[in-house]
């Protein structure tokens, strides 16, 4: 299980970096093609939208792997370590339930529906079921990560135990989950 986790996290990391870079290049190309070449391309906007869906959902699964989702922890902070540990494992099962029911089953049904209807995107012509397939895939990944975190031994700690409140001048501050306490994520740029 540990090995699968390591491999999945590494692959997800690469996939996210590749999709994100493609997204940036794609939109820069859109600006360039409109102004410099005078020939607006029709497919760039659609590609960027689909890429965003993929980054958001696969990224969400990646965050589950890291236990980095934004959490309001002001009530759980006061719990004893043992209680907190038990509660966090319960929370993993709540997330497992959501991912299984909504993302795998609901999203899977959405993929099946678009597959039977044979819908394709207007500009690129990619079948919509391919785009939507990221929902059940991400859901399955979340399920795996939840089981992984819920089943793992208490003492072994989190994969990124080294992380603490790290403040590096000229870099973004990151408060990372520190042991069992998942902290508020200040990376949220909207704040």
């Amino acid at each position: 299980m540990q090995r699968t986790y390591d491999i999945l996290m590494q692959v997800l990391g690469y996939v996210l970096v590749v999709i994100f870079s493609l997204m940036v290049v794609d939109v820069l190309w859109q600006v360039l093609s409109r102004y410099a070449l005078g020939a607006p391309s029709s497919f760039t906007e659609e590609f960027a939208r689909f890429a965003l869906i993929w980054v958001a959902l696969l990224g969400a699964a990646y965050l589950n792997g890291l236990r980095e989702h934004l959490t309001m922890d002001f009530l759980t902070r006061k719990l004893s370590p043992e209680k907190l540990e038990r509660r966090q494992k319960n929370i993993e099962w709540w997330m497992f339930g959501f991912a299984l029911v909504v993302m795998v089953v609901g999203g899977g049904n959405l993929v099946l529906t678009t597959l039977t209807l044979g819908q394709a995107s207007p500009a690129i012509g990619v079948p919509l079921w391919v785009v939507y397939s990221v929902i059940p895939v991400s859901g399955a990944l979340v399920c795996f990560f939840s089981v992984y975190h819920a089943m793992r031994e208490t003492d072994s700690g989190l994969p990124n135990e080294r992380l603490d409140l790290t403040v590096t001048p000229n870099h973004q501050t990151t408060i990372q989950p520190n042991n069992q306490t998942s902290s508020i994520q200040p990376n949220n740029l909207s704040s």
Binding site: V17, V24, V27, T71, N170, I175
Partner: protein, 434 residues
């Protein structure tokens, strides 16, 4: 009990219970939405609808501006522009009494505007300024309080991701361009108000003026910060002039920030994967929240909660001023324990119809809402900026709260001004015709 009322109760009760239990916000929103859907619709269509709403909700070219501004901000941080902006701010306002406090406010405003992130501003500026201020006799807790409150101005001064989220939540009644321009005056007003308070306190406590800086030095510092400031002009100017959309502007900002980093020699090609991955993680935090929040706000309109709310408020409270105050107080309370993005996405569809019925401009309400929620970022129990600001100043959160109170009160004062004088937000957009 009617099914609508039962649905509302289930939705809110399960949402707050899950939040308090410690379930991540995005999942708490998703689970409570799904539970409520299952009350109303048959199982398979219900869960399929949630999955579909989540996906189609983020299927938006406008939202793409958010990950792009995140990446641009990350690149800007690594390019090391914070030091240049602090030097510029110092040569502009540093020689006044209590000068370093002004420098902190001004640098945080500039950095917040350019990076689009209050967290980045609080950490980048605070980590440098707290030590410098302590060396000249300012208590660390005072510096932290100044830094925390002034960092939020970057959320009003464009470009600002939260205003893009609001534009989406307003259902297109407020354009990104109008919101961006509208944010300038209120954002600068908050900064000036904080400086005014710092001036009063500096006089009372006898904080020293900084060194006088020669004109040539000012000129040199301006030159060093010029390229960073030029980016703001290109982005905001380009959006307002209609040269490109907010999303395209953000992509241009990435190219510009990256170019600047390469030119300064602070970013290398080898750094790019880690920058991209960090941005992808931040993006996923925000976008997954947006996905489940959009499913929830779809459920709101399905249950006609906004209409119920409008009817209820307009029937029970006759005085518009009382309604504005009531909404502001609600948002202040919400802001203390909820992060900004979900708060904007969940409460905009509920309150916007009410205030529009009372004749408020959606752009004006957006500014009021963001400024209001900025205050919540500086206050416990959930104050992201408060925690980061105290962290970089290496002081405990509890010790910052006392010096923080007057600064937060000043922000509330500006909030009241901005709420009741729409011209503060609206005259600049009107001037530009956006």
């Amino acid at each position: 009990m009617s099914i609508e009322l039962l649905s509302i109760l289930v939705l809110f009760f399960s949402f707050f219970a899950l939040l308090a239990y410690g379930v991540p916000v995005a999942y708490a929103i998703g689970i409570s939405t799904t539970a409520t859907m299952l009350l109303n619709i048959v199982t398979l269509p219900a869960i399929t609808t949630v999955a579909q709403r989540m996906t189609t909700g983020i299927d938006s070219f406008a939202l793409l501006a958010i990950p792009f501004f995140i990446l641009a901000g990350e690149l800007m941080n690594r390019a090391g522009i914070a030091g240049r902006l602090i030097d510029l701010a110092k040569s502009l306002v540093g020689s006044l009494p209590g000068g370093l406090a002004y420098v902190n406010v001004l640098a945080a405003m500039l950095f917040g505007a350019i990076s689009g992130s209050a967290v980045a501003a609080a950490s980048a500026i605070g980590s440098v300024m707290t030590d410098r201020m302590e060396a000249e006799g300012y208590p660390r807790t005072f510096s932290a309080a100044v830094n925390i409150t002034s960092s939020t101005t970057g959320l009003l001064i464009p470009p600002s991701n939260v205003l893009i989220v609001y534009a989406l939540a307003s259902g297109g009644t407020a354009s990104v361009a109008a919101l961006f321009i509208a944010g300038y005056v209120p954002g600068i007003l908050v900064g000036l108000a904080l400086m005014a308070l710092a001036a009063v306190m500096a006089k009372k406590r006898g904080f020293p003026p900084g060194d006088r800086i020669s004109f040539s030095e000012l000129f040199r510092n301006f030159g060093r910060a010029f390229l960073s400031l030029l980016m703001l002009v290109i982005i905001v100017g380009g959006i307002v002039a209609g040269v490109f959309t907010a999303t395209e502007a953000a992509a241009v900002a990435i190219a510009y920030a990256g170019g600047l980093g390469f030119a300064y020699g602070t970013i290398k090609v080898g750094d790019l994967p880690s920058v991209l991955l960090a941005s992808a993680r931040t993006t996923a935090v925000v976008m997954f929240l947006i996905a489940t929040s959009i499913a929830m706000s779809w459920l709101f309109s399905f249950e006609s909660i906004p209409a119920l709310m409008t009817g209820f408020l307009l029937d029970t409270v006759s005085n518009p001023i009382a309604i504005f105050i009531l909404i502001n107080v609600t948002l202040l309370v919400v802001g203390t324990f909820m992060d900004m993005t979900p708060a904007v996405l969940i409460f905009t569809p509920i309150f916007l119809p009410v205030v529009v019925a009372l004749g408020m401009d959606p752009v004006h309400f957006g500014i009021v809402m963001v400024l209001n929620l900025c205050i919540g970022l500086c206050t416990p129990p959930v104050g992201t900026i408060l925690f980061v600001g105290a962290g970089v100043a290496q002081v405990s959160v509890a010790d910052v709260i006392r010096p923080l109170i007057p600064f937060v009160l000043v922000m509330v004062g500006v909030l009241l001004l901005v709420t009741f004088f729409p011209q503060i937000s609206l005259w600049l957009p009107a001037l530009f015709g956006v």
